[in-house]
């Protein structure tokens, strides 16, 4: 199949990770559309769902490792929230793997490329998502 369309929501820090991948000239799949957000915990499930509606085959949320965060770890929230969203997607017949999460900090360019490529591969193997035509339960 052709390159899957993947929306990558990334927080400030992991966004710099993606920049770092660029600086180090590490290639990663071209179907990725990066959207930078201040913090992954600010990402409401609404936007992820909307991304699927608007034709994304998959969504990657990249966030700081909770261990890298000071005092409280908002990305724990993100994780729990996405976990719930994933079970909801499964319930309505969308494969849970289409929603991926990656822990990337600001200097990890190589890791970003690797994680994203892995996720893209998994999403590609699921084939294109036709959100509106999914009617079969998984």
């Amino acid at each position: 199949m052709s390159e899957p369309k993947i929306v990558a929501f990334m927080c400030w820090c992991s966004g710099s990770g993606a920049d770092q991948a660029g600086v180090e000239k590490i290639s990663y799949p071209t179907g990725i559309m990066p959207v930078r957000i201040p913090c992954s915990a600010l990402l409401g499930p609404e936007l992820v769902i909307k991304a699927f509606e608007r034709g994304a085959d998959g969504v990657i949320v990249s966030a700081c490792k909770p261990s890298d965060m000071r005092r409280v770890a908002p990305s724990r929230l993100t994780e729990a929230r996405l976990e719930i969203l994933r079970s909801l997607l499964k319930e309505v017949g969308i494969e849970g793997e289409r929603l991926q999460m990656a822990w990337i900090s600001s200097q990890e360019g190589a890791k970003f490329a690797e994680e994203v490529s892995k996720a893209a591969e998994r999403i590609a193997s699921l084939g294109p998502l036709e959100f509106r035509k999914v009617t079969k339960p998984v």
């Binding site: 915990a41 319930e91 309505v92």
Partner: protein
Amino acid sequence: MIGYEKGSSPGRARPCFVSSPQDATRLVWNQYCAASLPKYLIGAKDKVGIVAKGCDGRAIVELIKDKQVDRDRIVIIAPACLGVKRASQTSRKEILAGYCERCSNRISPIADIAILGNSNEKDAAERFARDVKAGKPSKRGILWMEEFQRCTKCLACIKSCPLCYCTECELDGSLSSLVSKLRMPTELPTFHLIRAMHMAGRCVGCGACEAACPADIPLTDLYSRINEEVEKMLGYVPGIDVNTTPPVELPRPKVEKK
């Protein structure tokens, strides 16, 4: 005092507001008392009494947690509930509502006055509890995407939900462009998925949305499935205890006092 009175046709009961002892004779309690009463507590200024089924009690607990209702201003009268009946759309029979088959607790978790009924009713309640075994698992394999396409986007699910107290809703199309105000077919799954996410870990299974839905979409089935997942993942069940905190919430950072 908020309770139920006889409805306009047989097989209906409806919310009723009583403000004097004489009026209290209007109140009834039967298996048609389906409407969700905690909805009327939101924004109520006076001290009110409320008749609460098990699910209504759970909704009140959630409302107290969310600081929409002041526990000190309400008096909860909790009768034992046998599940509500609704008229079937296809045959002219009355059936037990689907969401009541799944009810985990038919008595309100918080009550000021609990009415357990006479022995007959008690027997019936026990029988009910035995039959239902603290909640059947929800139906699986519903073709949700097809169900969503039936949606008329009337927003009745939101308006009837006792836990939807936001004055501005992001799903009605006036606040954001997430979902249009009109019924755009491609946005129907989005609408329902977002609403399901908002209900995750909050839905108390009262079935108000399902009862109001003109398209008969079994919404509580979906919400209860997600609640099961939330319980598995985070060990949280909504509407049980006023003192628990919602599952997806940050621990407050401790600010050191100087």
